[in-house]
């Protein structure tokens, strides 16, 4: 049996409300909240970035996995906000967690799907027998241009998963990926903010790829939506995941636990992985979990997990995702937020 042996999430304490951003740009706060189903989002502190978020999430995963970090044979961080253009995030993380130096490390990028990519490769290494444990992380401090619709959603956070063969808490039953060249969202080198195709990000991008991957994995597994206790999809806003889930036959009851976007925002590479951690926090042995990510450019990775008896031993070993989200909150004004996100230019 190959699957998740430890999982953990982390989101920063800082927040900005959708209404604060709407008021800044003269938009109607109620219309924004109703349209995007977003009430607030996380903001990285001035001393936080993808690496510190990854370290915090992976520490929680290690607490649950209860393994010697030296036994981890591969570490992959998926993000579109790696702090360095050239210098890996993963090398800093392994030294901060006591992993390695006998370890394979790489940083992944694939817009919002880099986290599930990292999970997929980590899982595959263990499945192949190449190593005992592998760590896959999705984390981001997402960028959104001032005044752009993305500014309401682009947030910060991450989730980490250690895959292994012993003491598995959620077995990976099936995976499936669906990918095509679709220019729905991108950021060129040296540009501060991403660009996107507006409505083009919907049907030809988000919905086509998630439905493509999800329908294929359901067919491959012979399962149907009603077989699952929980489902989570990439959450670029509140509406898209609920709509795509409904199209596939999932109910709001199956999706509500993993649907953390309304109080977290879109953590890009950390989005559906963080929703998965919120599900694992309350899942029961035997539960089946459906997960499908989406990354612009574009592609989706779908996973089917089955929770084991071991889940009950690890759920309380580290902070639960919804407890972190509902825990300490420091609300920012738009001015503070702009400074935190380096949207203000200072003198040298």
């Amino acid at each position: 049996m190959v699957g998740i042996v430890g999982y953990g999430a982390y989101v920063p304490a800082h927040r900005i409300k959708s209404s604060t951003i709407a008021e800044q740009w003269g938009s109607d706060p109620a219309a924004i909240e109703r349209g995007l189903l977003l009430s607030e989002k996380t903001v990285p502190g001035q001393d936080e970035d993808t690496i510190t978020i990854s370290v915090a999430a992976a520490k929680n995963a290690l607490k649950r996995a209860r393994i010697d970090p030296k036994k981890i044979g591969a570490v992959y961080i998926g993000s579109e906000s790696h702090p360095y253009a050239v210098k890996p995030s993963g090398t800093i993380l392994i030294d901060a967690l006591g992993i390695g130096p006998h370890v394979h490390v790489a940083d992944y990028e694939f817009a919002c799907k880099a986290g599930s990519e990292a999970m997929y490769v980590a899982y595959s290494h263990v499945k192949s027998g190449e190593m005992e444990y592998a760590l896959g992380i999705g984390a981001d401090t997402s960028q959104g241009a001032p005044g752009d619709a993305l500014e309401y959603s682009a947030s910060a956070g991450g989730a980490a998963f250690i895959f292994g063969k012993t003491n598995v808490v959620a077995e990976v039953l099936f995976t499936h990926s669906y990918t095509s060249d679709t220019p729905d969202f991108w950021r060129r080198e040296y540009q501060r903010y991403p660009r996107h195709g507006g409505r083009f990000t919907g049907e030809p991008a988000y919905f086509r790829h998630i439905l493509g991957a999800s329908r294929a994995i359901l067919e491959k597994s012979g399962m149907k939506a009603s077989d699952f206790a929980f489902a989570v999809f990439h959450m670029p806003n509140g509406k898209f995941p609920l709509k795509v889930g409904k199209t596939l036959g999932f109910t709001n009851q199956q999706m509500e636990q993993g649907w953390v976007v309304n109080i977290m925002g879109n953590t890009y590479s950390g989005s559906s992985p963080t929703g998965l951690t919120a599900i694992l926090d309350i899942a029961k042995p035997g539960d089946k979990i459906f997960m499908c990510s989406f990354g612009s450019g574009a592609g989706s990775d779908a996973f089917i997990f089955q929770v084991t008896d071991k889940i009950l031993e690890v759920q309380d070993l580290a902070p639960k995702t919804r407890d972190i989200l509902n825990g300490k909150k420091i609300y920012l004004s738009y001015g503070k937020y702009a400074a935190y996100r380096k949207k203000i230019l200072f003198n040298d």
Binding site: P12, D47, E48, T52, V55, D95, A96, I330, A339
Partner: protein
């Protein structure tokens, strides 16, 4: 400003709280050659758990250039549960909540950047628990 070589040399105490426990029981972080109390040079390496108590603190209102845009922020002397005394920045807090005797946890954070094109220095800061 730290330089890359020094930052690299000190990464294990900055990253995983690698400290020294001298024969006398004195615990030190960062590293030193001699226990100032017993004169001993004999020690073992330990990793601090990362929890402690604030012994004293101050609030920085006028900071050096590196931290000029983060003021006001607290800097505290904490004693870890193993007995090591460290000077740390306290983060993610209302400065009015920082008190002598408050319990803290050390977390991995960005300390500073060596300019726009230089390396990023990571290390420990404290959060109130």
């Amino acid at each position: 400003m730290a330089d890359s070589a020094r930052y690299h040399r000190e990464k294990f105490h900055r990253y995983i709280l690698e400290a020294q426990k001298f024969d006398s029981g004195f615990v030190s972080l960062p590293n030193r050659y001699v226990d100032p109390y017993s004169g001993s040079r004999s020690y073992e390496k330990i990793n601090l758990k990362g929890t402690g108590t604030i012994l004293s603190y101050t609030i920085i209102h006028i900071a050096s250039d590196q931290f000029a845009h983060t003021t006001p922020f607290p800097v505290a002397i904490i004693e870890t549960d193993e007995g090591a005394r460290l000077t740390v920045m306290v983060t993610d807090c209302d400065i009015n909540d920082v008190k002598i005797g408050a319990r803290v946890e050390l977390v991995f954070r960005k300390i500073m950047e060596e300019g726009e094109s230089g390396i990023i220095n990571y290390g420990y800061k404290a959060i109130l628990i």
